[in-house]
């Protein structure tokens, strides 16, 4: 479904600020797989999601999604099949628009927009129906501006918006990180049920190793712009957070050893 081949991303190339964010990433996520992604700060997790969404400039390598080579597609064109939920709850929705209007925008992602009124009774009905699944009472507040909602409510709304229409790929970049633990759990739960119910191919970045192991089918770890660890199936089921932490430390330790060798 998603296939990254030898992806290199370098920010501020040929300047003193040059950062090699991705240094040869190969990754294939088959259709219907729910992949979780971990790694230390600056390891390249967000950048690899941004490569899929079309926001990060690809220096080298290619990206295929489904039948299409999307390496050079603009963001809005990819949006027909790839949708995302941002880390910041403010980013995923438009606060000056009502809940209903936000959903109307989201429906436009997969079905072309026109000069028809964006909001009509049939949309109102289907949005209310979807929102009622959240059990947050939002179905009664369709005409409230999104700016009036709490962070958790907004993130739940973003998630539903990102999964309207015939979305195939869902990208989640630490989408629960800005929420309090209880709300984060709630949003994670609905994420799980939506991904499973709609059989989406999903990539979720998380800062919590426990979350990474307990959610989805497969876990990868980024370190300094590369995937250093990839586990799935029975091996993953056996794995504990301690194992993961251990692995993580060992990888970093090796890096240090390499450096000291070089220096020595």
């Amino acid at each position: 479904m998603i296939e990254l081949k030898d992806i290199h991303v370098t920010f501020n190339k040929d300047t003193p600020l040059e950062t090699k964010a991705l240094r040869g990433v190969d990754l294939a996520v088959p259709k219907g797989e729910f992949l979780t992604v971990i790694g230390s700060n600056g390891a390249g997790k967000s950048t690899s999601l941004n490569v899929m969404a079309g926001i990060a400039p690809v220096l080298q390598g290619s990206l295929r999604v489904g039948q299409n080579d999307m390496t050079n597609w603009p963001v809005q064109k990819r949006a027909r099949s790839i949708s995302r939920v941002f880390q910041d709850p403010k980013m995923g929705t438009c606060e000056d628009l009502t809940i209903l209007e936000n959903f109307a925008l989201a429906y436009g992602r997969t079905t072309p927009r026109g000069f028809k009124f964006a909001v009509d009774p049939s949309i109102r009905l289907s949005v209310a129906e979807r929102l009622s699944l959240l059990k947050l009472g939002l179905e009664d507040r369709l005409d409230d501006k999104v700016g009036l909602l709490s962070g958790g409510q907004r993130q739940a709304v973003s998630l539903l918006m990102a999964t309207t229409g015939d979305t195939q790929v869902l990208l989640l970049d630490e989408h629960t990180a800005a929420l309090d633990p209880k709300t984060a759990d709630f949003v994670l739960q609905i994420t799980n049920s939506i991904v499973r119910e709609l059989k989406l191919t999903a990539v979720m970045v998380t800062h919590s190793m426990a979350q990474a192991l307990n959610t989805g089918d497969r876990t990868i770890m980024f370190h300094q712009g590369k995937i250093i660890f990839d586990v799935a199936g029975a091996e993953r089921d056996k794995m504990t957070v301690e194992d993961l932490l251990h692995l993580f430390k060992r990888e970093q330790g090796e890096e240090l050893a390499d450096d000291s060798l070089l220096l020595g």
Partner: protein
């Protein structure tokens, strides 16, 4: 003020209502501070006047064409920004400066009088209505119709996309909206409205003038700010209503100020007074406190 003066104020108020709607579209909806209007207002006037006088066009067609040309001017500004990453404000200044020369070319001189020719306003006088009575009514109908059309447009799929493109570009893109395209059409539309206002202004005052664009941007902004401060704009319908109301009130305030002999103001002081008013309003909006407090705080920090 006499009834005659009040009706005259209504006329210009409605015309600048169009400019205010354009400013609302660029500044508030698209978050694209657009200065092209300083050039597209006289552009609309020049194109309309030249087509009527030199080209012998039907005044309605000339007025419509002026709006189309105005759209082009706004499109060019947005294109400079979207395609070549030129700062929006600078792009607007570049286009409006160019338009100054272009307008002189179009008119073949610094102005183009519209004397003894058919305009959209003479049509009513021919029917036997006195201009000072019928013109404000006609302009009111035109401007309100355009406002309602704009309200409707902003509720369509396209209009909603334009609002999202201005309010949250990253979210808009993630929802498949071509943000650049929205800017091109939105800034184009705003300048079409402004050029239409210029075309109507020239016809009602009997001439197009290369200098008539000076300060138009500030008048548009002042109208939006005045309107929004008296009519809280929770919905698009209320916001666009506030723009037109603001334009009328602003013209009224100017007329009253110029009429009040004890103030000792000349007509030429209008720009200064308007600019100071807008500055004060913006400062007030920023801090939400009185100007006096802000000035005091300013000196303390020194």
């Amino acid at each position: 003020m006499s009834l005659y003066e009040i009706l005259g104020t209504l006329e210009t108020g409605f015309i600048f209502g169009l400019v205010a709607l354009g400013a609302y579209l660029t500044f508030k909806i698209l978050d694209f501070p657009d200065l092209t209007v300083e050039g597209s207002f006289p552009l609309g006037a020049a194109v309309c006047a030249a087509l009527i006088v030199q080209g012998g066009w039907n005044p309605w067609a000339a007025t419509g064409f002026a709006a189309v040309v105005g759209f082009g001017a706004g499109y060019v500004t947005a294109y400079l920004n979207v395609r070549f990453n030129i700062l929006h404000i600078l792009a607007g200044i570049l286009v409006s400066i160019s338009l100054y020369s272009i307008n002189l070319r179009i008119m073949g001189g610094p102005n183009e009088p519209l004397l003894n020719v058919k305009t959209v306003f003479t049509a009513f006088e021919d029917l036997g209505y006195p201009g000072y009575m019928i013109n404000p009514v006609f302009l009111g109908i035109v401007v309100i119709a355009i406002k309602l059309a704009l309200d409707a447009f902003l509720a369509t799929g396209w209009g909603m996309s334009m609002r999202a493109a201005g309010a949250n570009p990253a979210m808009a893109e993630a929802n498949g909206i071509n943000v650049g395209k929205m800017k091109l059409y939105g800034v184009g539309l705003a300048n079409a409205l402004t050029a239409l206002a210029g075309a109507l202004f020239a016809q009602i005052f009997g001439a197009a003038d290369a200098y008539m664009g000076i300060g138009v941007i500030i008048v548009g902004l002042a109208s939006v700010i005045v309107g929004m401060s008296i009519l809280p704009s929770r919905t698009i319908f209320l916001a666009t209503t506030a723009c037109i109301l603001g334009a009328i009130l602003y013209r009224l305030a100017v007329a009253v100020a110029l009429n009040a002999d004890f103030l000792g103001l000349y007509a030429s002081d209008v720009q200064l007074v308007t600019a100071v008013l807008v500055m004060l309003a913006l400062i007030g909006q920023q801090s939400g406190s009185s100007l006096f407090k802000i000035l005091k705080k300013g000196t303390k920090n020194d």
